[in-house]
């Protein structure tokens, strides 16, 4: 026998000392650990699909949550490439299974309207490749006004910052001009902002630019995200029917 046929023979019946002997019971135990992990992930509240974490804002183009988790390898490419430092490794926003998956922290950064870099670099297409034009139509969440903090709403002061920064062609933030009184009893007109849930894409620039800090008077929640028809602000007939 020459050395190659011996190699093939060894491959089929390796000598004892060179064998990779993992032990059947130990391999079974490791498999059960994998099954156990899946079962434990499966009973987390997020898995019920009846409750959604408002802080779990995924980058635009992210697949529906189950598909997303099946693909995301938590590599941090999207976090590195994001030019506004908006994408962060999740702690427990998406349950333990989602540890270190990308999540937008809209108090720190916003999703730039002209950017799709995270979809360009995602190695597993957990964030699918999308053109900028398509990205501009994807809702990653929805902004809401905190009327107890917003300057025109709560303090009768003039402010139009959120509306000015809103990037959608038809602004998702619109004003209602209201005559109010200040503490001296003087009448003045302020513009109270409102959010149009049809137009808002949840990019979060309003939250980042809002002059009210920690927390801002306009904030973004994941509700309304395009990738998840269950997580909508208005009850659809389907979800209503399920009770």
């Amino acid at each position: 026998m020459n050395r190659f046929s011996r190699w093939i023979a060894d491959f089929l019946h390796p000598p004892k000392e060179a064998r990779l002997d993992l032990g059947r019971r130990a391999v079974l135990g490791a498999s059960l650990a994998g099954v156990g992990a899946k079962l434990l992930f499966g009973i987390a509240p997020e898995a019920s699909k009846r409750t959604f974490n408002p802080a779990l804002i995924r980058p635009p183009g992210a697949l529906a949550e189950d598909d997303f988790l099946a693909r995301c390898i938590r590599c941090g490419e999207c976090m590195k490439v994001c030019p506004t430092n908006a994408i962060h490794p999740a702690s427990l926003e998406g349950g333990f299974e989602g540890l270190w998956t990308p999540v937008l922290v809209t108090s720190l950064g916003y999703c730039d309207y002209e950017c799709n870099l995270c979809s360009q670099v995602c190695p597993t297409h957990a964030i699918r490749q999308i053109e900028v034009a398509e990205k501009q139509k994807i809702k990653i969440g929805l902004a809401y006004i905190d009327r107890s903090r917003c300057l025109p709403w709560a303090y009768s002061k003039t402010c139009i910052v959120c509306e000015e920064h809103c990037p959608t062609p038809k602004k998702a933030i619109w004003f209602e001009e209201v005559e109010v009184r200040n503490i001296q009893g003087e009448k003045l007109t302020v513009k109270q902002p409102r959010v149009d849930p049809e137009l808002c894409i949840g990019c979060g620039i309003c939250e980042v630019k809002c002059p009210v800090r920690a927390p801002a008077a306009v904030r973004v929640a994941s509700v309304g995200e395009s990738r998840n028809p269950e997580n909508q602000i208005l009850l659809t007939t389907d979800s209503y029917g399920q009770g």
Binding site: E17, A18, C75, K80
Partner: protein
Amino acid sequence: MAKKQKTSWIVWLRRLAQTGFFLLFCYLFLQTVYHPINQAGRGVTLFFNLDPLVALCSWLASHALVGAMLLSLATLAVTFICGRWFCGWVCPFGALHNFFTSLRGGPAKQKLEAGGYHRWQKAKYYLLVAFLVAALLGADVVGWLDPFSFFFRSLSTSIYPAINKGLVAAFTWVYDANPGVGPVRLTLVTEPVYSFLRKYFLAAAQPYYWGSLLVGSLFITVVALNFWRARFWCRYVCPLGGLLGVVGKNPLVRLNKHQEKCNNCRLCLVDCQGGAAPDKGWKPSECFYCWNCKSDCPAQAITFTVGSPHEVTCHSERSEESRPASPGVGAVREPPLLIDRGIEVGKKLR
């Protein structure tokens, strides 16, 4: 009589390859930024595309595979022939561990005793099995411990921002204090360096990341463990190493120990990176093909060969010149080196 072995040119070639791939990884990392107009660096996912573990787990969990990830089949093919060559020569995370392992101090005897195979090295295979089974059931969490994910995530969310912050603070401090005599100021040196770093290394704006402390602490822990066991991560933890160990469990390129030359000094264990037991019953699944054992062996008893020559022919590869001159004893072969004498030699080895 025993003199320090000259480091084999293959070891130098391996170090060159490791340095190259490590720098490539760092370059691609730095390229993972915005380029005008709205363009990420090209090919920045190269190492992830070479990684069969993430390809396999993504495919098991989502039943879909990104085309570029088929590159990882090349890694598997090479591994099938050459064993865990990838771990020792290509993997940039492995290169980092290799570097920190080489910084270890301490007596060679200690390294020798910790350098052999340990049964806990099987842990990585069990981690691999657990990850694969979970992925098969749809829970793909392999990214927690996939080496490239671990490395890139740690760099991007923790290590790089920290270095960035430190560098900017240091250069700003020098700029503000501006020590020097007359027209000779320190800033004459530091400012050009800073401009260079600003252009090629530093972030456009200081990045901050949620939970960076946990990610960074894990990274530092894993790196520090190299001082306890050579390439701790690669030996005990790395699930990609486990996968490559399974695929390359009977490689075509094999270590052969020439028993008639071996004097059982076990110096081959001192610098063994994978804990592959080159001294007795070589374990191909643990071997990184780092060539250190061959390079360190004072008796030239270790060779790497293609195929399985079970019966080692007794042709002497040692030239007559390299034999120690022992005129008095005549026909008597060189006596076996005592372990302690061997260790004395080993102290000088790296």
